[in-house]
Amino acid sequence: MSDIDRVDALVDRLLAEHSFDDPQAFWGAQYDLGLAWVWFPEGFGGLGLARGLQSRINRRLEEAGAPTWNRRVNILGIGMGAAVLAAHGTDEQKRRWLRPMFTTEEIWCQLFSEPGAGSDLAGLATRAVRDGDEWVVTGQKVWTTLAHIAKWGLLVTRTDPDVPKHRGLTYFVVDMQAPGVDVRPLYQITGEAEFNEVFFDEVRIPDDQRIDDVGAGWRVAMTTLMNERVAIGGDTTPRGSGAIAEAVRVWKESRSDDPVLRDELVRLWAEWEAFRLTAARASEMAKAGTPGPEGSTGKLVWADLNKRITSFTVELMGMDGAVFPGGYRLIRPEGRDEMPPQKAFLRARANSIEGGTSEIMMNIIGERVLGLPPEPRVDKDVPWKEVPRG
């Protein structure tokens, strides 16, 4: 039996034996059959097969109308945490965390950014000090999406301030309900609080929740970020979906025949299509094992286009665009809300900031893809504690 046949048979079985009424139970069954991350080893939600087969599985489940929104609900876990555990975790850690992550019984968050360390993640200051079989963590994280509902957090800490910044970091999984963890909402431009500041006051983390070696935190953080940038903007989506779909909808609703607006709409449509085709090509090349420069442009282009398209959509609405339906309320966002174009427009401003700013993405393309010389670095071989911080 070919791998494709084997996977198809398992999908048939999943669909035949499990109802969609209880999504968590369905996802549990999907995990147990090895259809969660098909390229992970057997017993850890996978079958040890080619990664490319996963999109076939996802497509078949979507076509069958099966629940697939766990990836969205638990994006920081399923999109990034899983890859981190797969690459750097022990079998015991994978066994403990992967299944409830996939079923969304346990939500995950990412505790990287700090008030003093955003783009310069490796400059972070949250301290972890060893105490026997435990670590004691004190410091502050910021912009932590989902921290208020998360059970687990992916945490990077500084364990050695005396060496250059990249070398003194250690990575943990932290229990967000542990004593000393304080989560406070941060409200954003839309009035909603998607993200938080998280304070750690002598929080104790058992050493068996450390990921990879002491001092290897940067390596693990890079795995996380690579997967984050794929999770944002690396999706292959059907033609005409996403932000451009909303622009087209508003255009049709307006029944405008203004040739200037139409030209702008079609220009944006074309740019979005080029972005989409690039993502599709990048994913094909990656599957074939020959990823090229196309793969590193997704997040950058997506952010720019999303901002422009949502802004244009509001413009298409004319003065109606100057209305903010429902008004501003300082609240936690309500699950899977419909987003009116005005709110989508405001929310899109974050796209070129979250998950690495567009300036940083361009530095990466310039230096890693094109091989241009890096900017002079003042903090390279300096012990972290001696780096200027303004």
């Binding site: 431009i189 004319g318 100057a322 900031i353 303004g390």
Partner: protein
């Protein structure tokens, strides 16, 4: 069409207006107050209007005989710029610019004598009700009708996006006369047959409302006849004031960015030392200065009807786009903090976006400019 020679030299008087305005706005309408007002039901505090009246702002361009300051549009533009800088909420643009200028341009001597002193003294707030459709910025789009009655008129129709209508004591309403011309009617708040419904605004520092006229009665038709030209003039002056306001807002965003770029360290250096940020700030300055030139020029040619037909849409198109771009990049330069409610960047960004929608989008202004140039 010939460009006019104008002077940009700052006079002592203008500088005094500017510094007084900046001081007053900082003391009385600082950002914490703006934030409080923008989350309040009405979005404004009438006692502030009284204070503005005492400063002479509510009747700045109304002549002294009617209790105003007798100043020109250059002085008014300085106030507008300072208010843009401070994202000041309230009906200044609606009342002291649009309604005032409509009444000045269209009203008979008696009508002006009856209305302008009330506006100048701050006793009454006014606005204009013109627009009815989301992209209908032209006067051709006015469909509200005025039907003559035994004494006065009855208005019927729905106005949308009326600035600060819920605060207004007087509404200057554009409606079709029986002969199809647009007339300007003055309706007092509380008139029967008129209902005002505030709608939530993208820019919570500038409120808008829908106003429904269902046979609303009024006795006052400004100028006792057609008023389209007067309204067009008032709207152009509104654009000039708005353009100067946009320059003030954009300038403030530039300053926030530069300040942040100098003090925020990443990778052991101030982020302003990265060319990506340094060049962005430099480009902000360039765009603000281009916009300022157009706005300042427009403010200095308001007495020349032909030139204003060029200068007003020119300033509106340039300043709208410049402000929106600068306010957006200001968020980017700030990173995560720029996306928060707590930071002021979003107040400017929302004001900038709404300002490109409420008075005509830049494409509309360019169309008007093209028409004025005969292109």
């Amino acid at each position: 069409m010939a460009e006019r020679q104008v002077s940009y030299a700052p006079t002592e008087e203008l500088e005094l207006i500017r510094s007084t305005a900046r001081e007053f706005l900082a003391d009385r309408l600082g950002i914490p107050v703006v934030r409080e007002l923008m989350m309040s039901e009405s979005g404004f505090d009438r006692s502030v209007w009284k204070e503005l009246a005492e400063l002479g702002w509510t009747g700045l361009t109304i002549d002294e005989a009617h209790g105003g300051g007798g100043f020109g549009f250059v002085e008014l533009s300085v106030l507008a710029e300072e208010m843009g800088r401070a994202v000041t909420p309230g009906p200044f643009l609606a009342s002291a610019v649009l309604a005032t200028e409509a009444i000045k341009a269209a009203g008979t001597a008696e009508q002006q004598a009856a209305l302008l002193p009330r506006l100048a003294s701050g006793e009454a707030v006014a606005t204009v009700a013109v627009w009815e459709r989301p992209r209908g910025w032209g006067l051709d789009d006015v469909a509200t009708t005025a039907t003559p009655e035994a004494s006065g008129w009855a208005l019927s129709g729905t106005k949308r996006f009326v600035l600060d209508a819920h605060l207004a004591d007087l509404l200057v309403v554009a409606a079709r006369l029986p002969d199809g011309e647009v007339g300007l009617f003055v309706v007092e708040a509380g008139a029967s047959g008129m209902s005002i419904d505030q709608v939530p605004a993208l820019d919570p520092t500038r409120r808008i409302a829908d106003v429904v006229f269902d046979g609303a009665r009024t006795a006052m038709l400004l100028g006792d006849g057609p008023g389209a030209d007067a309204l067009a003039r008032a709207l152009r002056l509104g654009l000039v004031a708005l353009a100067n306001e946009q320059v003030g807002g954009a300038q403030r965003c530039l300053e926030m960015s530069v300040e942040h770029a100098k003090t925020r360290y990443q990778f052991g250096r101030p982020i302003g030392s990265f060319q990506a940020i340094k060049h962005r700030c430099a480009e902000m300055l360039v765009r603000v200065e281009q916009a300022r030139s157009a706005a300042y020029y427009a403010a200095r040619v308001t007495d020349d009807t032909d030139e204003l037909r060029v200068a007003a849409p020119l300033a509106a198109a340039l300043c709208s786009e410049a402000y929106l771009w600068v306010a957006g990049e200001n968020i980017q330069v700030h990173g995560g903090i720029g996306f928060t409610w707590e930071h002021d960047a979003h107040l400017y960004f929302k004001r900038a976006k709404a300002s490109t929608l409420l008075f005509g989008d830049p494409r509309h202004h360019r169309r008007m400019l093209g028409d004025a140039l005969g292109l």
